[in-house]
């Protein structure tokens, strides 16, 4: 019979995860301002423009405004504050 031995767990210490609520959803997008956030990945501006055009064609009651962070891969609190202050909803692309 083989000997059983104890060994260390090689993993680090993960952070405690605190649950967070999603924001309440809108009844409709009609008449609302939707922020289109261009995350600055290569060609994401072109994609977001196509998404904006789709909304303009199919949901003309939806207003849109494009936002861009100061740099890619970095949080931009000023941009987030502007989106929170000005818009009713946001579409972010293309994120990962």
């Amino acid at each position: 019979m083989s000997i059983r031995i104890a060994v260390h767990d090689p993993r680090g210490y993960p952070p405690v995860v605190i649950g967070k609520r999603l924001a309440p959803r809108l009844d409709s997008l009609d008449g609302k301002l939707v922020g289109l956030v261009d995350c600055l990945f290569d060609n994401s501006d072109v994609f977001m423009e196509q998404l904006r055009l789709w909304l303009a064609e199919h949901l003309p009651g939806v207003r849109t405004k494009v936002f861009k962070p100061k740099a890619s891969w970095t949080d931009d609190p000023e941009m987030r504050a502007a989106i929170a202050a000005e818009t009713d909803a946001a579409i972010l692309g293309v994120g990962l």
Binding site: R21, F47, I91, L92
Partner: protein, 444 residues
């Protein structure tokens, strides 16, 4: 997710291969039911009409119309589960359940705690012996690390690093070097699609004290300290940052051989120039390790021959220039440049002055578009001037401070290499300038 917390319903859009990663990040942020939409990969290189087809088409994950996913994500009422979020603690025990050696080896492989090469099992005795390699208490928190900027940080202490050092086959006398590397906070296991690795350079007296190789085959598998220190760093990064699992915490499309191990010593004794760590402000008597992030490209050559300028320009301009070059040269090459009247610094300046591309080529680059363009548009130099340049106008691709030179090798050939080696520290961004050289003596 910050926008959701601010009360703004949000729909992030990702490309299909990132679905598992996006869901994993949402869960780790306590919002496992965050709504997401997906489009096919790739986005890069696709025309407006092709991207319009993505918008008009189906979400490749849900198979429903993409825009229906987006609109419903913003308007479909929340369920009770959506409102709860998810709080949880993930514990990592100090010791695993006892088992046979064979089963434990299999457990480590199955859990992706290895680099898929055989490891040394981290028994209590072996870890205790490794801890004797430092005077720092085992429970001292050394730092925190994550595979990429949008994931959560995991913490680690001295003992956890010792566990991984044992697994890599390192000796206790190497342990201060490994601790210093981990204290840099730079991960050798980035999750980037670009398959980054790290290259670490050791300077100072500890090189000889632990028997590192800076001679023949310094970059190769010919020295126990070089090999196992680099491997320990790689294993520690993947295990202490919360993993490096393909399709979840690792997205590098090709992977990188340097991910197994990449650590060497500078041949200070045979170099005609000051050691690298002295260039960076340390004393020659200090022992340091410098962690270069990248390892994505390699250019190679010999010399310096009469045509060395043309060769260097070809190499420098052939780099993926978002990754600054770490030039590693044999002492023969370094002395050759001295014979031609160069100091290390004047050679670096020559490289920066002569590494130029037409602006058209500089900007027709995925990383220039993603990382550099926002700074250029904001008027930040030197990027703004590069953006103003006419398409055929030559623009510099490096600043002198971007380029680093290290001398190593056994003088059997006048060989050099240029590696992608960003010497800037943790995190993304063009302007990040943390100091990635760590004093090993502080970890003895």
């Amino acid at each position: 997710m910050e926008l959701e917390l601010a009360g703004i319903p949000t729909m992030p859009v990702h490309t299909q291969p990132f679905a598992r990663l996006a869901q994993s990040v949402a869960r780790a942020n306590g919002m496992p039911r965050a709504r997401q939409a997906y489009v096919p990969q790739p986005l890069v290189g696709r025309s407006p009409s092709e991207l319009r087809a993505y918008v008009d088409g189906a979400d490749p994950i849900s198979k429903r119309p993409f825009m229906q996913e987006v609109i419903e994500g913003l308007t479909k009422p929340l369920s009770p589960e959506d409102l709860e979020g998810l709080s949880f603690e993930r514990s990592t025990p100090r010791l695993l359940e006892p088992d046979t050696r064979e089963n434990l080896h299999e457990l480590f492989r199955q859990n992706r705690w290895t680099d898929m090469l055989p490891i040394v099992l981290p028994t209590e005795e072996r870890v205790a012996a490794m801890l004797k390699g430092t005077s720092i208490p085992a429970d001292r928190i050394v730092g925190k690390m994550r595979p990429t900027a949008f994931r959560e940080f995991w913490q680690f202490d001295v003992e956890k690093i010792a566990v991984n050092a044992v697994m890599a086959g390192a000796k206790p006398e190497y342990f201060p070097v490994i601790l210093a590397m981990m204290a840099s906070g730079i991960t050798a296991r980035s999750s980037s699609t670009t398959s980054f690795a790290t290259i670490s350079v050791v300077n100072g007296p500890i090189r000889d004290q632990i028997g590192m190789n800076a001679g023949i085959g310094a970059l190769g598998p010919y020295n126990h300290a070089n090999s196992t220190i680099g491997r320990a760093f790689s294993l520690a990064c993947q295990n202490l940052q919360g993993g490096s699992t393909p399709n979840e915490t690792f997205m590098g499309t090709l992977g990188n051989f340097l991910g197994y191990t990449a650590c060497f010593a500078e041949n200070e004794e045979r170099s005609p120039w000051a050691p690298f760590h002295v260039d960076e402000g340390f004393k020659a008597s200090d022992s340091t390790v410098s962690v270069f992030f990248g390892g994505w490209y390699t250019q190679s050559g010999y010399g310096p021959r009469d045509s060395w300028k043309e060769k260097f320009i070809r190499c420098l301009t052939a780099t993926e220039f978002y990754q600054q070059p770490l030039i590693v040269m044999d002492p023969i090459v370094a002395r050759g440049f001295v014979d031609r009247g160069f100091t290390k610094q004047s050679l670096i300046h020559w490289c920066a002055d002569n590494a130029k591309l037409p602006a058209r080529d500089y900007w027709d680059d995925q990383w220039s578009q993603t990382l550099t363009l926002p700074h250029a548009v904001a008027g930040i130099e030197p990027y703004a001037s590069r953006l103003k340049a006419k398409p055929d106008e030559l623009v510099s691709i490096f600043m002198p401070e971007d380029i680093k030179i290290v001398v190593t090798g056994g003088e059997t050939q006048g060989a050099f290499k240029m590696f992608g080696g960003r010497y800037a520290g943790r995190g993304p961004g063009t302007f990040n300038r943390e100091n990635p050289t760590v004093l090993i003596d502080a970890w003895r």
